[in-house]
Symmetry: C2
Subunit: 338 residues, 2 copies
DNA sequence: TTGAAAGCGCTAACAT
DNA sequence: ATGTTAGCGCTTTCAA
């Protein structure tokens, strides 16, 4: 008696049931045109009947081509990544690729290694290429293409999609100085990322434009997370001369700042104005139409896919760097906190 | 530009560089204890130096064990799925598993098939088990374990995690009737899901408790998406006797309804009250502390992982069904729309 | 038009 | 303690 292991249906089972060889089944699976229509139909029928799905692992191992694209990002709690993911999702359908996402969880000390590991894991085996959002690791060891979104200084080697943030940050500052604020705190993001550098630049430019001297005490650097937003805001508000407004480099940090304000009993925006960069998905409905960058961020994902697909197909890129000029982007948290 | 090798680094390269056989490298990779410490260290050093990561595909093909758990969900735009994902993320770290997510994109006609395909794809090859959020397909063909979250009527076969929603929906209704509303519209969710059934039940119970007769005209069924929320709300507000309040079965539908209201020039909550079930992540900061179900939803993910890991290890579950009793849960959109 | 057979990179049983 | 070897399920020559 044959020992029937409790295993999934394989190409063998299909071949046997259809009375053909496994190579014929494989040909049908890959839509080769040298299969007799009648055979092809019979095989297809069996595949359907058995509910057979080809084994991704085996497939990818044999033929360096899986039609799956991988994406590596931190937390799903990060609105930026989520928005990028949406754009990616949208674009991927058009290209008949499938998407596999690895979320590395919180950005702790070990994140860079997890990120690196996962890029290799995905790219080295089951995906044809990988998109990395706001990379932490300086470089990745992989032979298949990588496209980064919001790259850091250390890895300019990879094709990248980045947004131009200076204008937006300036606009945020204009908003705050327009309200009469002269003492404005800044909560920075991960200093190695292009976006963070530009936003800080916008903050400084904003001060200059308003004729306000730069006070380094008012700049606290976090990592785009709510947690560091919280601690940075604490430091700012515990200054002997605390700011009357806070400009956070991203929305997560802004949330952290808002939390501190609430705990301190400060009412927003009466006692403290808080403005966060980026945007909270869906919140657009909760206030008068403000400019949001949802669509710009999503577009970054879309463009990244376009680039990656070209690379996978072996085509060359016109440019290794794609800049998105956002019109901008500022979402005053006042609008939904009051 | 540096000339890249055509193929990735394999276990062979490591073995060669370390002067050992591939099986020894494999043993080191899998932390077997029958390797001389000295050899082990040498191999490890080479692995690090070469930046070697083992090929997931090959590994999983040979050993039916990958330490990767898969998750299949629709859109990342869906706050519910995202919240579940967070819980999963959190739990997975404890169990030293990795997570791969497949997002099937928008829920269109073809979604059920994509979902099915992806479950087989993941479960059949690269993952040890799969979690499916709000499944569309009635069943999946796979030998490895599947746990569903918020199952539909058609597939009670799989171990499931579900929340008990009746109370919450009733509470939402109590809120609206308490405001004096007598004509309350309901925007339902995907009618095959447990959650949708319970929320509708809660709506009806709420009417009964308030002594309001049930009017089928006021119930419009969508699919938990913003789009159907929009069209359902349109139908409701175009009635000859439109409702003065709308209770949406989930937050996405509520957003759709709010959009209709805005387009019609109805002010919320003055002209129309809108209450949505579930919760919008992060918005908790934007209003006085309301009860949210964020933590409950995330817990569903955590529990699903616990169940799945047990199944993967071959242990048996105490119960195939895990009920979460939410305390509840209602988030009045008035709180952040006014 | 189809089948047989050689691996892809890896693990595990069997040798040494 | 380490090496040799047989496949895992699949694609892809090469033969027929």
């Amino acid at each position: 008696m044959k020992k029937r292991k409790k295993s999934a249906i394989t190409i063998h089972d299909v071949a046997e049931a259809a009375g053909v060889s496994i190579s014929t089944v494989s040909r049908v699976l890959n839509n080769k045109d040298d299969v007799a229509p009648e055979t092809s139909n019979r095989v297809r029928a069996v595949i359907r009947k058995l509910g057979y799905t080809s084994n991704l692992a085996a497939k990818s191992m044999r033929s360096r081509r899986t039609n799956v694209i991988g994406m590596v990002m931190t937390d799903v709690g990060d609105p930026f990544s989520v928005q990028v993911l949406r754009g990616v999702d949208r674009a991927i359908v058009k290209h008949a690729y499938d998407l596999i996402v690895y979320t590395g969880g919180t950005r702790d000390k070990l994140y860079a290694e997890r990120e690196r590991r996962y890029v290799s894991l995905l790219a080295g085996s089951i995906t044809d290429g990988v998109i990395v959002v706001a990379p932490t690791a300086p470089r990745f060891s992989t032979v298949s293409p990588v496209v980064v979104i919001d790259p850091n200084k250390a890895n300019p080697d990879y094709p990248a999609v980045i947004a131009f943030n200076c204008d937006g940050a300036q606009e945020a500052m204009k908003y705050l100085t327009g309200l009469g604020h002269r003492r404005i705190g800044f909560i920075g993001g991960r200093p190695e990322l292009q976006s963070a550098i530009q936003r800080l630049q916008g903050y400084q430019d904003g001060l200059t434009l308003a004729g306000i001297p730069f006070d380094p005490e008012l700049v606290q650097v976090g990592d785009y997370s709510k947690e560091t937003g919280y601690t940075c805001a604490q430091r700012l508000l515990n200054l002997t001369e605390p700011p009357t407004a806070i400009f956070a480099a991203n929305d997560q940090s802004a949330f952290g700042a808002i939390q501190v304000a609430q705990e301190k009993g400060l009412r927003i925006p009466n006692d403290l104005s808080v403005v966060g960069f980026d945007n909270i998905p869906e919140s657009a409905y909760s206030s008068p139409p403000l400019t949001t960058i949802d669509q710009f961020i999503a577009e970054m994902g879309t463009i990244a896919i376009e680039m990656l697909v070209k690379l996978i197909k072996g085509e060359t890129l016109e440019s290794n760097l794609h800049l998105i000029h956002t019109q901008l982007i500022v979402r005053s948290s006042c609008a939904f906190v009051q």
